[in-house]
Each structure stands twice: as C-alpha cells, then as structure tokens.
C-alpha cells in the first residue's frame, strides 16, 4: 500500500523523458550541433589568440622600457580584476550603446563572421591573454637562472636569449596549465549566451523554452561539455608526451643506463 503510494507519487512528480534525453544525446538537432560547433571553434580561436596575446603581454612586462612594463601590468590587473561576463557585455552591448563601436557582420570570402562572434572571440581572447601572461610569467620564472646566464655569456642579446633559450623551455612548462585554460575556455563559452550568441548553451535554452524538458536538455548539454573536455584531456595527454620536459625525456634511459651500463652517470 505504502509502496504503491510512493510509486504513484513518483509517477506523478517525476516526469523524466528518457527518449528525449537519448534523442538529445545521440540524435541532436542540426541547430544544437551548430551551437556545439560554435562552442568549439570560438574556444579554439580565442585560446590561440589569447595565448599569443598573453605572450606579448608578458614580454612587454619584461621590457626594458618602463611604460611598456606598466601597460602590461595594468592590463593584467584590469582584466583579472573584473568578471568575464561584465567584460562581454561592455564590449558587445556597452560599446554599441555608447555609439563608440558596433560589431557588424563581416564577409570573408564565402564565410560570414557575425558581429557577435567577433565580439565573443575578441573578448574571450583578451580575457585569456591576461591569464596566459601569468602562466608564461610563472614558466619563465621557473627556469634556472643559469640558463639565461649561459646564453648571455655566449654573447646573445636579450631578445635572442628569450627566443632560443628561455621560451622553448617555458613552452614545455606551460603545457599542463595551458590545457587547464582551454578546458575552462570551452566551459566559459556558455557565458556568451548573455550577448545572445547561439552557442551550445543558448541553443539548449531555446530548445528548453519550446519543449519544457529542462532537466533532459541541460543534462544532454552537460554530457556534451563533458565529452568536449574529455576529448581535450586525451589531446592534452598526447601533447604532454610529445613535448615532455627535459627531465621526463631522460628519466627512463637514465634508469636503464644506471642499472645495466654502470656508466657512472651522475
């Protein structure tokens, strides 16, 4: 009797649509896939631009020229000190409201780049650049000072020392935190919904208002974000193995050498 009542209540209360969830995951609509594609290419573009920008900012923070150092430090302070959500609204809606700049659609050959996509990529990249600058700073600081001294003692000017000796080593140190950043970046694209960009999250919201299958559709969205970050996790692992740090490259041969060759390697 009690059990029957519970089942009835569950039946009345929970209306979980398995079919809808399965369809959303395994046979997503074209609109949804389009949103997913946007999420991916905006993330990739913003991460690439943000990494390049972050390098430029960090190099300017290490400049011999004080105003450049100040500018770099101020940039990082401003960007890291304000929420991405607010930055997005300021860049896309704020600038337009001020009549300062309005993002308009751009036709590049066969491709039309929407104004809102431009604003999104630009803002995400600008935001990311500040964090990447911090990551690159930490990586450069982690390199033994003897590396720079050796380059300088050979007669390399500062820029060449940076390019040939410091950056290649910093890049290896940057890979794990860079992977972390890209993981965050893919999830941050869901914030683009506030400026009306039809990425995966906003597309799901549209589906939700048409179907009211709120739990199912956002569960499907969560599954897709998880899928993206998991796939990225594998890519990152592969990159880390390819660009393994100098210590990682040698750990196994050295052990072998020690065990079998007895070459007195220190």
């Amino acid at each position: 009797m009690a059990q029957g009542a519970w089942l009835a209540a569950a039946d009345a209360g929970l209306n979980f649509d398995w079919d809808f969830l399965a369809r959303s995951i395994f046979h997503p609509s074209g609109v949804f896939l389009h949103g997913l594609a946007r999420t991916v290419y905006i993330s990739v573009l913003a991460q690439v631009l943000g990494t390049v920008g972050g390098l430029a900012i960090e190099l300017s923070r290490r400049s011999r020229w004080m105003p450049l150092r100040r500018a770099g430090a101020t940039y990082v302070w401003l960007i890291r000190g304000t929420p991405l959500l607010v930055q997005l609204v300021i860049v896309y809606n704020g600038l337009a409201a001020l009549n300062l700049y309005r993002f308009t659609d751009l036709t590049l050959g066969p491709v039309v780049v929407l104004g809102v996509v431009q604003a999104a990529v630009l803002t995400l990249a600008m935001n990311e650049a500040a964090y990447m600058a911090e990551i690159i700073r930490a990586a450069l600081d982690a390199i033994d000072v003897g590396q720079k001294e050796a380059a300088v003692a050979l007669g390399m000017p500062p820029a060449m020392t940076m390019r040939l000796v410091l950056l290649p080593q910093a890049a290896r140190i940057c890979v794990p935190p860079l992977g972390n950043e890209f993981n965050l970046m893919m999830k941050s694209t869901s914030l683009l919904s506030v400026i009306g960009l039809q990425e995966m999250f906003l597309t799901a919201q549209a589906i939700n208002s048409a179907t009211f299958k709120t739990f199912e559709i956002f569960l499907a969205v969560a599954v897709y974000y998880l899928l993206l970050t998991t796939l990225w996790g594998f890519v990152q692992q592969w990159i880390e193995r390819r660009f393994a740090g100098p210590a990682a490259v040698v750990s196994s041969p050295r052990l072998r050498e020690r065990l079998f060759a007895g070459s007195g390697a220190k």
């Binding site: 033994d144 003897g146 001294e149 050979l154 007669g155 060449m160 070459s263 220190k266």
Partner: protein, 257 residues
C-alpha cells in the same frame, strides 16, 4: 711571456652587494696566452670578480678592458655610461665563460648546445655550425655523445660540453668559474685534462679553482684573493712553494687535502 701584450685588464674593480663590497678595488692584467689561476677562501670575492670580467655582474667602480676597450661601459660626459645589452653582448662574444654548474641548455642536445651560438651570432649555416660543434665535441672527447641531452650526461661530460660550447664562439679569452667544484671526484680529472690542453695551446685563461694540480702544471700566475682584495700574486711555482703571506700558506695547506 712578460713581453706579451695585455689582453684583459681589470682596473680598481669594485662590486658591492648592498653596502658590502664583494670585490674591493681589484686590479689585474692578463697577458695574451697567459693562464691565471685565482684562489682564495669562500667569500673572498673570486667568483664575483670573475663575473665582473664579462659584465655578468655590473661593476660599481673601476673598469674592465678587453684589448683596451671597456667591456660594459663607455665614457659619458658625466662619468661612465653603461653600454646597451646589445653592445655588451657583442663584447661578450670574445670572452668564453664556463660555469660551476655547467648551465647547458636543458632542451638541446650536446651538439645543438655547441652549435647554437655560432649559428645565430656568427652567421654560420647549420652544416657549418654543426661541423664546428662536432669538431669541438671530438676535441673534448665526446664525439659519441652529440645527440645526448644534458640530463643524460654525467657532470664531467656536461662540463666538457660546456667548454666546447664556449670555444665554439672562438673567444680570445676563457673564464672558468670553479669548473670542477660541482663534480664527483672521479670526474675532475677529465675536465682538468681538457683545460690543461687549452692552456698548452696558448689560450688566454682566467681560472677560479682549488685544483692546485692544475695550478701547478698549467698556471703561469696565481692570484690569492681575500676579503674582496688581492692578497698577493706571483708566478705559480713561487706562490705554491713560498708564498709571502701566512694566510696564503694556511689556505694552501687547507685545500691540499
């Protein structure tokens, strides 16, 4: 030897860390082809002085001249003006430096470590630079290690690569900062042998070391530093067998075993 021209000269060099002078008015003339060994207790300023010679340390007073030209400064209207990093770099190419901790480029093979600077600073093509690097690695007895990363090499091998790397720029003078102090005892000999050969070939060398075997066999002159100053200097044989100062005598006894 005394007729040879002065190649490297320090004039009243002062280097302070905070208010404490680490190098306190040191003057030294090194003739072309000469090997000078600098000894002294830890904290005597010998390493700092050596680093002043190629402007790895910015000096506070005095001057360092390579072949008559200042290494780090030029005359300004109101005293010396520091040269730009680019200008200092150009002078440093003529001065080889070997570090206590080797400082091989960790991301590059032994061959690339040696070839990097000539390729990018002397305008050599990759094959030219690599040919030079191979020749130098062979000279320090590491022809078979050209593809090894620094972490795969023993300390003694790393230091020999480091010497080859410095030689690849064909410097006029080589500075060695305690090149064997970070090595296990059994590897000291292989590094000393390379250095001795260099000295025999007529390379101008300034060596900070406690290896009195090297000083005895390769040095023309020994300089004893103490508390940032030169306590005494003289021909190697005389300094070892008959130093003037008690402090030098005691120091030599201490490092002898």
């Amino acid at each position: 030897m005394s007729a040879a021209p002065v190649l490297l000269e320090a004039r009243d060099v002062v280097k302070r860390f905070g208010h404490r002078p680490a190098v306190d008015g040191v003057s030294l003339q090194v003739q072309r082809g000469e090997t000078v060994v600098i000894i002294g207790p830890s904290g005597s300023g010998k390493t700092t002085f050596l680093r002043c010679l190629n402007h790895l340390e910015r000096i506070d007073e005095g001057d360092v001249l390579l072949d008559g030209t200042s290494v780090g400064y030029r005359a300004g209207r109101r005293g010396p003006v520091e040269l730009s990093p680019r200008e200092v770099a150009a002078t440093r190419r003529r001065i080889g430096f070997v570090f206590q901790r080797f400082n091989l480029f960790a991301h590059l093979s032994a061959l690339d470590n040696v070839a990097l600077a000539p390729r990018n600073l002397l305008g050599l093509s990759r094959p030219e630079a690599e040919a030079r690097a191979r020749q130098l690695l062979a000279r320090v007895g590491l022809a078979d290690k050209e593809q090894s990363r620094p972490a795969q090499l023993s300390g003694g091998q790393q230091q020999r690569v480091a010497i080859a790397r410095a030689l690849a720029m064909q410097p006029e003078v080589m500075l060695f900062d305690e090149p064997t102090s970070a090595l296990d005892p059994e590897m000291v000999g292989e590094v000393i042998a390379v250095m001795r050969e260099l000295a025999d070939e007529g390379m101008t060398m300034v060596v900070v070391t406690h290896e009195m075997g090297f000083a005895r066999s390769a040095a023309d002159r020994i300089v004893m530093m103490d508390e940032g100053k030169i306590l005494e200097e003289g021909p190697a044989a005389q300094m070892i067998s008959d130093p003037v100062h008690d402090k030098t005598r005691r120091f030599l006894t201490v490092i002898a075993h």
